[in-house]
């Protein structure tokens, strides 16, 4: 994309914001041109959210000024920001699930026929028109709860456009999307930019930023540390800028020395919440000293498998054994005692009690064991000692062991969980999305620990929606498709394309390749609980969306993207709580 140099649509000059104990923004300069997709890159807690909150009027800067089209402005609050054409699309959607698309868009920006009644007809017309203009057909009467996350994201964008936003801020928009959905949203964003909208794209996924951005600004510890054009940089360069040192994006896994089977699963069958069989007779084993990676598009039974293996869900049949002992259907406590550790995928729901101090969270699964308990009493001294050690050893960045876990960034929360689970005396380790939503520095750290644990002889089962993660860490890769393992591959030699194809179609023959081009959308949508009709529309609409010459030949594009994609995650946020107040 060529960029004609023109007056910036938005300029933030010397923005400084201090919170007690931290300088969240330290003299940040940011300049956004009209029609530009500008990526803001930084680790969790680098100050991206603070900067955007200032732009959106949620926080007032201590120093610095904001210029819109060259005029200095004071943004008093979100409604002021919206009135000035700035809109924010949050990572966690602010939509009312039970209301229709149109109602959600109208909320707060009611189009009135007269002082009492809404002009629903006019509103619908505008929504449909806007949707068409930017390449997605939307049913204004569909209930939001029936839409897939990808479509909900589009509703959020539409909401911004309905308010005639010129500057859109997207806070990690792809964190909750499947690769296909990400591609589709990117097409929409490019279209928006082509129409002259400016987009601030916040992310810490390097490859995405390289793909979509016109310019990239990197922030570290509240300061702008660099600006890059995608053509002049690469992932390693960006990662080093972000973290402040060279980062090994792919950790050296070394050679594994597997022993005998430690965790054996035979003909395991598990039902999902709706009573459908989600895991259909799985048989596999994980050997001591190896990492078995489960690859698969989200929603192919991985969640149910993990829950069954960790005692959170009872299997309907089959057998699970740990170190030769039958542990089928036993609860989490018994499994822990048998030597199983588990890093759950949803750290806010399962992994942590966010309102508890960090030190309590560091003993959440060991609170009743020695030395953290003395008879029926807690041994606070021992807990404190261990917390100090864990913070040191696992590089958990926190003001103290007493702050509540909810105030930590996502990376540090995850490190706390890893510290807790890895410190146990364990035989087997189940890792569910161990690095979801984390920045590169934390990912590197956790990956190193996982390898170290493997080399110490643990049997590790890794489930991740990030195909890259599975490829990088696994000694063997099992591909899960519709509740079954469709292939078991050797980790170091597996081909990314092959795994991607297996994930998407469950097959790897020539037929599958042919099928891939046409059935892509359907395969990717398995986990996304879409409205079928809408999903079908997407499939036909997407190519149109990327209509420019640069995006020619959409059919060719969809196959590789499917194969490589099917990765990224449904993420969770990294609460930068300093901003949350």
């Amino acid at each position: 994309m060529t960029q004609t140099v023109s007056a910036p649509a938005l300029e933030m000059r010397g923005i400084t914001k201090r919170y007690p104990g931290v300088v969240a923004n330290d003299g940040i300069d940011l300049e956004i041109r009209p029609g530009e997709i500008h990526a803001l890159l930084g680790e969790n807690g680098a100050g991206k959210s603070t900067l955007m909150n200032i732009l959106y009027g949620l926080a007032t800067p201590d120093e610095g000024e904001i210029l819109l089209d060259g005029t200095a402005v004071t943004i008093k609050g979100p409604s002021d920001a919206i009135a000035r054409g700035i809109s924010m699309v949050h990572q966690h959607f602010m939509l009312v699930p039970v209301l229709s698309v149109a109602d959600n868009i109208l909320l707060g920006e009611e189009t009135m026929a007269n002082p009492i009644f809404l002009d629903q007809k006019e509103a619908r017309r505008r929504i449909v028109e806007l949707g068409n203009r930017f390449g997605f057909e939307i049913d204004p009467d569909a209930k939001v709860e029936t839409l897939s996350v990808g479509w909900q994201q589009r509703v959020e964008i539409l909401k911004a456009l309905y308010r005639e936003a010129r500057i859109l801020v997207l806070d990690e928009p792809t964190a909750v999307l499947t690769p296909q959905e990400t591609e589709e949203i990117f097409a929409v964003l490019k279209r928006l930019a082509a129409e002259g909208h400016s987009i601030i794209f916040i992310s810490h996924k390097l490859y995405e930023v390289l793909e979509i951005a016109d310019r990239i600004t990197v922030i570290r510890r509240g300061k702008v540390v660099g600006q890059r054009l995608p053509a002049e940089t690469d992932e390693d360069d960006l990662a080093a800028l972000m973290v402040g040192r060279n980062v090994q994006l792919v950790v050296d896994r070394g050679e594994s020395h597997p022993q005998g089977p430690e965790l054996t699963v035979q003909d395991l069958r598990v039902l999902d919440d709706r009573g459908n069989e989600a895991v259909k007779g799985l048989t596999f084993d994980v050997r001591a000293g190896e990492i078995l990676g489960i690859a698969g598009v989200a929603g192919n039974g991985q969640d149910e498998l993990v829950e069954a293996l960790t005692g959170l869900r009872k299997p309907t049949s089959g057998r699970v054994a740990l170190g030769g002992t039958d542990v089928t259907g036993v609860g989490p406590r018994a499994l822990q005692n048998a030597g199983m550790s588990f890093v759950p995928g949803d750290r806010h729901r399962f992994g942590l009690v966010l309102t508890f101090p960090l030190e309590d969270n560091l003993v959440l699964t060991q609170y009743d064991e020695k030395p953290y308990a003395r008879g029926p009493f807690r041994n606070d001294g021992a807990i404190r000692d261990w917390a100090a050690r864990a913070i040191q050893e696992y590089d958990i960045r926190t003001p103290s062991a007493n702050v509540t876990a909810g105030t930590l960034s996502g990376g540090n929360q995850q490190k706390a969980i890893v510290a807790r689970e890895f410190s146990r005396d364990l035989r087997a380790l189940v890792l569910d999305q161990p690095t979801r939503g984390l920045d590169v520095g934390s990912i590197e750290f956790i990956h190193r620990r996982v390898i170290a644990k493997r080399d110490a002889g643990a049997a590790i089962l890794l489930v991740s929606a990030e195909l890259d993660e599975v490829m990088e860490l696994s000694d063997r890769i099992a591909v899960m498709y519709r509740g079954e393992i469709v292939a078991l591959l050797d980790g170091p030699t597996a081909e990314r394309e092959e795994v991607g194809l297996l994930m998407a179609t469950g097959r790897r023959d020539a037929e599958a390749l042919a099928a891939a081009a046409t059935s892509m959308t359907a395969a990717a949508e398995i986990g996304a609980k879409p409205v079928e009709s809408v999903a079908a529309t997407v499939a036909t609409e997407t190519p149109a969306a990327g209509g420019g010459p640069a995006e020619a030949a959409p059919e060719n594009e969809s196959a590789p993207s499917a194969a490589e994609g099917v990765a990224p995650p449904a993420s969770d946020d990294a609460p930068e709580r300093e901003d949350a107040e």
Binding site: T310, P332, R333, Q336, F342, F350, D368, P376, R378, T407
Partner: protein
């Protein structure tokens, strides 16, 4: 330093709530002065002073007709009597406050304090009468324990219903309150009625009557209530069981993941709530020596105000109970001296509860930042979540 800051963060909203309630109460007192013939804007001052005097024995005003002068008087004898009356009124409130507060910690909203008080008191009365002739220490121990057990059993029911069927504890305990009240009235009027007294009541508990240990009527119940405060504190904050209870209260999914059993912990927590409420009933009934058919007690409900005011922390609950107990003990003095109806105390208590429930409003009005570790977030969520989003 950080302790002071923490104490401030925790107590500022309750203090504002009390202040606002007294302020609004004084408007009502001024309006009520019309009864005395003439609008009297000084009456709230006089009334609150006499209330304070009734509760503590300390006086700082001299009222002679229309002239009011400041005069500090402190009489140790009078203060001792007043304070023991305050403590006597506060003792059951400490226990019913704990009955609600412990529930909050476990993510449960126990509205069943009233029913648990009645069942606990009734059990204590019956068992007390049965052991009436035993030596006092034995009789008292057995009767008090019986009351606690009765309350615990009555808390066990909603706990088990919630754990196994998902029935919401608020709905169940409200119904159990009525059930306890009517069934016990029926029993006292019929099966357990003794001949002799002019009104229906159970037999005397004899040696199980709690002795007076403080002032004119400060019974052994005060000591029982006081002992329960550190016990509750240690249980909640210093034992692994308390950690389990709090974990279930904050995040049941994480509790399950950590290998705890949310189901049995819910039952246990509700039983524990019932135990404290049952103790409250026991010390009230064993203090007066029998269970009267007409036993209209409000201590169960006041326990909710106490728990919220005390931020569900045992020490806070103790302070809150002393405040509300003092109001009740001082009310008669206020009615006599200032001629302000004692019922105004109920109104003020209600206002305190109202302002506490409107915490968000108070915070925004007075521009108080919500502290990250203000321990009430969970409690208030429990209260609000109790209507609507029952997470069984």
């Amino acid at each position: 330093m950080s302790f002071v800051r923490r104490a401030y963060a925790i107590s500022i909203v309750p203090i504002i709530a009390i202040f606002l309630a007294l302020l609004l109460g004084s408007v009502l007192i001024i309006i009520s002065s019309v009864i005395q013939g003439k609008l009297n804007f000084a009456l709230p001052l006089v009334a609150y002073e006499s209330l304070f005097q009734g509760a503590t024995g300390i006086s700082f005003l001299d009222v002679k007709g229309q002239t009011i002068t400041f005069a500090f008087t402190f009489d140790p004898e009078r203060s001792y009597r007043a304070l023991s009356a305050t403590m006597q009124a506060a003792a059951p409130l400490v226990l019913t406050g704990l009955a609600v507060g412990v529930g909050f910690k476990g993510g449960l909203f126990n509205i069943g304090g009233t029913g648990q008080v009645l069942v606990g008191g009734f059990t204590a009365a019956l068992v007390g009468a049965a052991v009436a002739t035993q030596p006092a220490p034995i009789a008292i121990t057995i009767a008090v324990a019986a009351g606690a057990l009765g309350g615990a059993l009555y808390g066990f029911i909603p706990g088990a219903l919630k754990a196994f069927t998902g029935a919401h504890e608020v709905v169940v305990t409200i119904m159990l309150n009525s059930l306890a009240a009517f069934v016990i009235v029926g029993l006292v009027n019929d099966i357990f009625k003794i001949t002799g007294p002019t009104f229906a009541r159970t037999a005397d508990v004899g040696n199980a009557t709690l002795p007076v240990i403080l002032g004119r009527d400060g019974s052994l119940g005060i000591l029982i209530a006081l002992v329960c405060v550190p016990i509750a504190y240690v249980l909640i904050y210093r034992t692994t069981l308390g950690f389990e209870i709090r974990t279930v209260g904050e995040n049941p999914s994480a509790a399950r993941y950590a290998g705890m059993s949310p189901r049995s912990l819910i039952i246990l927590t509700m039983s524990l709530c019932g135990l404290f409420a049952g103790l409250a009933g026991a010390i009230v009934i064993l203090g007066q020596g029998y269970y009267p058919a007409v036993f209209g007690t409000t201590i169960g409900f006041t326990g909710i105000t106490v728990a919220l005011l005390g931020r569900a922390h045992p020490v806070g609950i103790l302070l809150a109970a002393l405040l509300l107990g003092g109001m009740e003990a001082g009310a008669p003095a206020m009615q006599i001296t200032a001629k302000v109806p004692a019922e105004i105390i109920g109104v003020i208590q209600g206002l305190i509860l109202l302002f506490l429930a409107a915490e968000v409003l108070i915070r925004s009005t007075f521009r108080i930042r919500a502290g990250r570790d203000t321990p009430t977030a969970a409690e208030l969520t429990t209260v609000s979540a109790s209507y609507g989003s029952g997470q069984a």
